[in-house]
Amino acid sequence: MSNAVSTVAEPRVSLPKVSAGFRRARLVLPALLLLIVFFLLPVLSLLLRSVLDPSPGLQNYAQLFGSTTYLRVFGNTFFVASVVTAVTLVIGFPTAWLLAMAPRWISKLVFAILLLSMWTNLLARTFAWMVLLQQTGPINRLLMWLGVIHEPLTLVNNLTGVTIGMTYIMLPFLVMPLHATLRAIDPTTLRAAAICGASRWQAFWRVLVPLAMPGIASGALMVFVMALGYFVTPALLGGPEYMMLAELIAQLVQQLLNWGLAGAAAFVLLLVTLSLYAVQLRFSGRAPGASGVH
C-alpha cells in the first residue's frame, strides 16, 4: 500500500475511472429491463395504434388538433397543473423550510402530520374533501356562520375543488424532498453571506434559493408532471368545464373504446412533458453547489 499521506491529493486509489464507470452503468440494468419489457413494449404497441387504428395514417392526430374540444382539454390540463404547482410551491416552501430548521419537536410533529395525511388512503381523503366542500358542508357553514359569506360558495365540482384536492395530495411530494435539500445546505454559507454584509432579503434570494433550487425544481417538476396525468382527484372533485386529459383519455379507452385517438392524445402529452423536462435540464444544468459542500 503506497504512502497514504503522499497520495491524499489523488482521487480513489484502487480503481481506475473507466471500469468504475462501467460497473456503475451495469447497476441500471435491472430497472431498465423491467421498464423495457413491461412498460416500453406494451405502451408502444398501444401508441402505435394511434397511427394504425382504425386505418393507417395520421387521422387521429388530425382529429386531435382539429377539434377545439381536445385542444381545450390540453390547455386546461396544463393550466390546472400550473395552478396546482404554483399553489403547492407557495405553501410547500415555507413548510419545508420550517421542517428543515425548526426545533426538533416542532419539525417532528409537522412531519408526523405530513406522514399521517399521506398514509390515509387517497380515495378516502378525496371523498372527505367532497363532503367538506359541499354547499351544505362544514366549510361553507362555518363561513356563513362567521358572516364572511351570505350564500354558500361552490367549492367542489369545479376548478377550486380540483385545486384544493390536488394541492392537498401533492404537498407532501414537494415538501419531503425539498426539506431534505434545505437541510443539506450548510448554514455557514448563509453566515458567510451575513458577514459579507448581505441583508436577510438578499441572503434569501441570492444564497438560499439558488442553493435550494435543485430541490425546488425537481419537486415542482414532479408535482407538475403528476398533476398533468392525474386522474382520481379531478374525476371526483372536478367538473366537466375543466376536464383534464387523464379523464378524457380514460373515456376514450374505457367508454368510447377509441384506442387510436387515446394513443394519439397520450403520445402528444408524453412529447410535451418530455420536452418540458429537457428544457428544465438545459436551464438548471448542474448548479455548482448542488453536491452540497466543496
Binding site: T69, T136, N157, P240, M243
Partner: protein
C-alpha cells in the same frame, strides 16, 4: 380419388364420437369449471349474486364467481387478446346494442334463453335484459314546500324552482331527451335527436347543473341537499326514501332504460353462460331481484309474482306517460353524440 377414404374416415370418427358421448359419464357437478359474472358492484351486484347466481349454482352445480366493476376497456382488451376472463357481463343498454356490431359479444343462444317471456323492449340478438329502470324527476320535498316540480319543464325553471339541478354526467340516453321534452318536443318525435335544440335548452341552466357520475353520488347529492332536484334512476330514489330522506318523485314522462347481459366474444364457458342467462331472466329470479333492488324485471311473467308493496314502486305502474329511450338509435349514433356531448360539457 381420395373420396372413398375420406368418407370412411369420417364415418369412423362419427361412430367413435357417438360411442364416446354416450358412454362418457355425465359431467360431475363438482368438476364443472366456474363461470365469471362481471357487473357494477354494490348492492345491485349483491342482489344479482343472491337471486340469480346462487339459484343457478344450486340447480346446475356450476359456481359463479363475481367480478367487476364492468369496464369496457377491459372487455375489449380481453376480446382482442383471445384470453377472455369474463363469461357474462352486465353492460349499459346502448353499449349492448353496439357491441354485437363491433364484434365484442357472442349472439345470444335463444334456444336456451326463453324468448317468449321476455319484454321485447329489452332483447336483441347480442344481448338480453338484465333489469330495467326509469329516469324520473326527483326532488327534495323540504326544499319545495310551496309547490313541487311536476315535469321536466320545471327543471328548467330556475325562478319557481331555485337550486342546483343534477343530471347524469356521461354521454348516455336520458338527459338529452329530458331537455327536448322540456322544450316541448312531442314524445313520438324525439328521434332522431335534435342535438342543437337539446344543448341550447341545457345552456339555459348550465351554470346550475351539478353532474352525478354514479348512482351513489346522485343519492349523496340529493340527501345532502347539494342538489335539491334533478333526474335520477328510480331505484336510487326509492332507496333514499327507505333510509328516511324525504324525496318526492314525479313519474311524468319517465324514461325507461335497461342494463343488459352479454356474453363476450370468445368466452371460455359460452354454453354455461347461456344457461346462466336463462336463469337470470327467468320469471322468479327477475321478480326476486326486483323485490330486493327496486329495479324492474325484464320478464313479463314476473309482475304477477311481485309482492304488492314492491309492485307499487315499479316503472310499469307508470306506463301512462312512459317513454322508452331508443337504445338502437343510441347504439348507432353513440360516437357522434358522445363527441358533441363532451364538447358541450367542457365549454
Amino acid at each position: 380419388m381420395q373420396q372413398p377414404l375420406n368418407l370412411h374416415a369420417l364415418v369412423r370418427a362419427l361412430i367413435v364420437t357417438a360411442v364416446v358421448s354416450v358412454t362418457a359419464p355425465a359431467p360431475v357437478f363438482a368438476a364443472a369449471a366456474p363461470i365469471v359474472f362481471a357487473s357494477w358492484g354494490g348492492t345491485t351486484q349483491s342482489a344479482q349474486q343472491k337471486e340469480w347466481a346462487a339459484p343457478f349454482t344450486q340447480a346446475s352445480g356450476i359456481q359463479v364467481l363475481m367480478d367487476g366493476p364492468t369496464d369496457y376497456g377491459k372487455l375489449k382488451a380481453m376480446v382482442d387478446s383471445g384470453n377472455v376472463q369474463w363469461d357474462v357481463v352486465d353492460v349499459e343498454g346502448d353499449f349492448a346494442y353496439a357491441a354485437l356490431r363491433d364484434g365484442l359479444v357472442e349472439p345470444i343462444d335463444y334456444s336456451v334463453v326463453n324468448k317468449s317471456q321476455l319484454d321485447p323492449r329489452f332483447m336483441s340478438p347480442g344481448a338480453v335484459g338484465s333489469f330495467y329502470y326509469s329516469f324520473v324527476l326527483g326532488y327534495n320535498k323540504a326544499s319545495f314546500k310551496s309547490g313541487a316540480p311536476a315535469n321536466y319543464a320545471d327543471l328548467f325553471d330556475t325562478q319557481r324552482f331555485p337550486g342546483k339541478r343534477t343530471f347524469y354526467k356521461w354521454s348516455a340516453p336520458g338527459v338529452l331527451e329530458v331537455a327536448l321534452l322540456a322544450d316541448g318536443v312531442a314524445p313520438d318525435k324525439l328521434y332522431p335527436l335534435d342535438l342543437d335544440r337539446a344543448f341550447k335548452k341545457l345552456d339555459t341552466i348550465k351554470s346550475q347543473i351539478v353532474w352525478w357520475s354514479g348512482g351513489a353520488q346522485s343519492q349523496q347529492l340529493m340527501a345532502s341537499g347539494e342538489a335539491p332536484l334533478g333526474v335520477f334512476w328510480n331505484g336510487r330514489l326509492h332507496a333514499l326514501q327507505q333510509t328516511g330522506v324525504d324525496v318526492g318523485i314525479s313519474w311524468n314522462q319517465n324514461l325507461t332504460a335497461a342494463d343488459m347481459l352479454v356474453v363476450p366474444k370468445g368466452a371460455k364457458h359460452k354454453a354455461e353462460a347461456m344457461k346462466f342467462l336463462a336463469t337470470a331472466t327467468s320469471a322468479q329470479a327477475q321478480a326476486n331481484f326486483a323485490a330486493e333492488t327496486g329495479y324492474a324485471p325484464v320478464n313479463l311473467k314476473s309482475a304477477a309474482l311481485l309482492p304488492a308493496d314492491v309492485a307499487k314502486t315499479q316503472p310499469d305502474q307508470y306506463k301512462a306517460t312512459q317513454i322508452n329511450l331508443d337504445m338502437k338509435y343510441w347504439a348507432d349514433h353513440r360516437d357522434e353524440i358522445a363527441k358533441r356531448w363532451y364538447a358541450w360539457q367542457s365549454k
